[in-house]
Every structure is written in structure tokens, then in C-alpha cells.
């Protein structure tokens, strides 16, 4: 169920329409995905 929600979210994301009033097809240039991170946080080491 969680995977279905995730895939549904991805499909919705790729169907985004251009925000600006332009005839260009989105995306016509690289898109930045900004992800907030907390300084000092680090990935949890995997256990052996």
C-alpha cells in the first residue's frame, strides 16, 4: 500500500505543468530539488 502511494506520488509529480505562463515544455532545463537537512545529522550505520 505504501509503495502504491509512493508511485502515485511520483506519477503526480511528473505530471506537473509549467508554473510560468510560457509555451516551453517543462522541464526545459535542470530542476533543483531542495532538501532540508539538519546540520550534524548523519546516516545511521548499518549493523553487520
Amino acid at each position: 500500500m505504501a509503495m502504491l502511494r509512493f508511485l502515485g506520488g511520483l506519477l503526480a509529480l511528473i505530471s506537473l505543468q509549467p508554473v510560468a505562463s510560457s509555451a516551453e515544455t517543462w522541464p526545459s532545463r535542470p530542476v533543483r530539488l531542495i532538501v532540508p537537512v539538519v546540520a550534524g545529522a548523519r546516516p545511521t550505520p548499518r549493523r553487520a
Binding site: G9, L13, I14, P30, R42
Partner: protein
């Protein structure tokens, strides 16, 4: 993972930028102040909704950002050191009432874990707010064993 998928699906590069600063709020502000052209997208937890109620934010998420989709759901779990000797939420709340001043750790001030912790504290009837805030500013990996 999302960036790679979108890059393949849309034939355009999606660049993931991990942005630190102010517990992650700098990233929210950066996107809120960016050009509204669809080329700068925020991927965040619900801290974007909870943080403004705890910390000062340079943008108004309600008016400066538009929600697009929910990508996933993230549960909040409560975990304690085994030596604490509690095996249920009821036992934990009883211990918290008996021991005022217990601290907990989250990954940042103002994020959903912090809000959930404050809510739990209210349920427990505890009154150790200042110590909880201080604990929340430390990385969980260093502060949790000291509960």
C-alpha cells in the same frame, strides 16, 4: 531516488541539493524566495507546517509555497533505552510522571517529532519544557542514551 527517477522519466536533470542551516529552515526559505518558475522545488517533511509555530521563518509557507503532492508518509515512533524498564506507552507515561525532567531527542527543533514530543509531554502532565528543548537541539544519537 526521486531525482533519479524524474531525470529518467522526463529526460532532464533533477539535481538534489541537501541544504542545511537553521535546522533545515534555510532550505524552506530559499525555495519560498526563489523565482516561481517551477525549477526550484522543495522536498521536505511536514516540518514546513510545524516549524513556523516554533521558530521564526523568513517566508510564510501558506502564501509563499504551494503544495503539489504528498510523496510518502513518515511515522513517528517512540523508542527508549532497554535499561529504562518500560514496555508500553502506559508504563512510559507513568515513569515520566514519576520522574519530572526526563529528556528526549529529536532530529531538530520544530519538526514533527518535536511537536509530537510536546504533545506527549502534555499527556503525561510533565513540566520539563526547557530541558526538552535543549535535548532536541542535540543529535539523537548522542542524547538518547542519556535519557
Amino acid at each position: 531516488m526521486i531525482g533519479e527517477y524524474l531525470s529518467r522519466a522526463l529526460g532532464q536533470q533533477f539535481i538534489v541539493e541537501n541544504r542545511s542551516g537553521a535546522g533545515g529552515l534555510a532550505a524552506i526559505e530559499a525555495v519560498g524566495k526563489s523565482a516561481p518558475d517551477g525549477y526550484t522545488i522543495l522536498v521536505t517533511t511536514d516540518r514546513v507546517a510545524s516549524a513556523p509555530h516554533v521558530l521564526k521563518l523568513g517566508v510564510n509557507p501558506v502564501t509563499d509555497l504551494s503544495p503539489v503532492i504528498q510523496i510518502s508518509r513518515q511515522p513517528v515512533v517512540l523508542a527508549v533505552h532497554p535499561s529504562l524498564g518500560v514496555a508500553s506507552l502506559a508504563e512510559f507515561l507513568a515513569l515520566a510522571r514519576a520522574r519530572p525532567g526526563m529528556s528526549y531527542a529529536t532530529s531538530g527543533v520544530g519538526i514533527h517529532q518535536h511537536v509530537a514530543g510536546e504533545w506527549l509531554q502534555k499527556l503525561a502532565g510533565s513540566s520539563s519544557r526547557s530541558s526538552l528543548i535543549a535535548a532536541a537541539r542535540r543529535p539523537p544519537t548522542t542524547s538518547l542514551p542519556g535519557m
